[in-house]
Symmetry: C2
Subunit: 349 residues, 2 copies
Amino acid sequence: MNSNRVGKQSVIFHTAPRILTSAAIAGDMEGEGPIGTYFDMILEDDTWGEDSWEKAERKMYIETVKIACDKAKCDYRKLDCLLGGDLLNQIISANFAARDLGTPYLGLYGACSTMSESLLCCAMLTDGGYLTQSACIAGSHFSTAERQFRFPLELGSQNTATAQRTVTGTGCAIVVSGDNEQKSSEQNSRIYNTVHIVGGTIGKVVDMGITDSNNMGAAMAPAAVSTFTGLLADFNKTADDFDLIVTGDLGRLGGTLFCDMCAELGVDVRNKYLDCGNIVFAESQKVDCGGSGCGCSAVTLCGYLLKRMEEGDFKNAVFMATGALLSPTSTFQGESIPGIAHAIILERR
Amino acid sequence: MNSNRVGKQSVIFHTAPRILTSAAIAGDMEGEGPIGTYFDMILEDDTWGEDSWEKAERKMYIETVKIACDKAKCDYRKLDCLLGGDLLNQIISANFAARDLGTPYLGLYGACSTMSESLLCCAMLTDGGYLTQSACIAGSHFSTAERQFRFPLELGSQNTATAQRTVTGTGCAIVVSGDNEQKSSEQNSRIYNTVHIVGGTIGKVVDMGITDSNNMGAAMAPAAVSTFTGLLADFNKTADDFDLIVTGDLGRLGGTLFCDMCAELGVDVRNKYLDCGNIVFAESQKVDCGGSGCGCSAVTLCGYLLKRMEEGDFKNAVFMATGALLSPTSTFQGESIPGIAHAIILERR
């Protein structure tokens, strides 16, 4: 048996599965943000003509998969598998999308870490020869998340200074075997010729005792540190070996904590670090500490970063979506907030 | 690259990962049922000394993993990965258990299909060389599920005739590489020498329009039929090729529907079919249509079936836990109930 395990919690992909295409749909506020022009579609109305936000979120899932498949010129009904999840109770957005798409389906729950959990699982299953062409999906919706996790929007409650805004958006990446030969010679083709997943690190749940569910960035930062330092140790690398280190939705406070905690461990990430929560919205957009939600890292990766990578702006990157594994029930019962981060290593080949 | 894909939605494991040990903890009513003597521990008090049922459920997760690891003489802190989920919003039982156990963790959501989803994913990742020794876990708790999905228990509401009782119980299986040489010569050893996972089928979400959340068996039966007939087609097998065909928690009505729907497709499963929901409780136990919940198939597989297989009572089996992918929100919004079933093929070697 071929061992693809590296160190204590990492894996290496000798066949380097490729991200063939990706797509992102986002809400209007995200569309007005710094990377808004990169998205495939911007919603003008956050119900998208449906009679509930939950149904709109589901429609975003379905349409994002279809757009990504259209770019790859593949029939979504012929996908080997859909891997994904969302923030709603019992991940109904992903479940109902999988029903309507009709593909084999593996439902995941990693809270806001879902985009990297799905890519990591999919890359392992593709590298291992169990899947050949699959879709990874994650997303969130501001209005469904607010009423499930915080307060009814109608209440007009005020945010705390450390709060982050849940991104309305879904991102989907089509992952194919490394030996898939579908390439494009057109410059503005919607097919990536060069973006491969070469390894990854399975996250551990880390809980430093933060109990404020309006301070998720601080709750999740230690998990990102744990995964990133675990990755460096397992692959015997330093931060200098990567052009870009990306976290999912730590936001302004959490991102600073991530850099500081890394620095305390002798790992300097400051000149190559980016948090999706800090670039999906501009500071002027009144989003307190930045963006959050499954959709935050999903639209940033699938809308913006992969395209930047294909264009040659960076050679490799560590992408770590970060998740806070609480529920309203666990918070009501006095529990602190556990965090997790899964990492994939992207490489331009 | 080695292809491990078979047909449209199935996978084959050339290295045949082994289930090394398993463990099950169950509630008192489950302990009084037909397979109660097989469980490793029966709870006398369904709070297990904790101050909430949710915390008791979490404790069951943690202790079940520890018992399974003890049997395998492995340190749970050295597991490559914990794969699992539960029914609670944001799968907090699995999340917090993963925090306390400290292992790398992949959170899954497949509702009551979680036991086979985790075993299927783990078998793929183990066969592929990404994991060498991991724990798969699923479980549920009657009292946490009732108050989240139905009514507060204090209300004393009556069940409908098609309702099933959520099993209080957790099951954990330790999966190791097929070439793992740890065997035991003692007859009553708690290590299985012979139980391998040789293949599996990734389920599709199937929805036949059932909207009664007190009739989950009927909602899930079509998904089990879809997966089972998909498996037979992909592997070019007939029902006669298997000694035992197991579904997760279709219950009395759903189980009958499964057999009838298979028969309509020319597949006769009747003399070798078993539903975990029908054997975890006796008919005399006033559980209406039988058991349900993630824990139903988890304790039946991990407590009873694997031991029966190790003892030579059957040579191979298809195990399909079945999940209803609804949420209270989707029901309130008038949606029908989508179902899913993932299958693994167990073989005595």
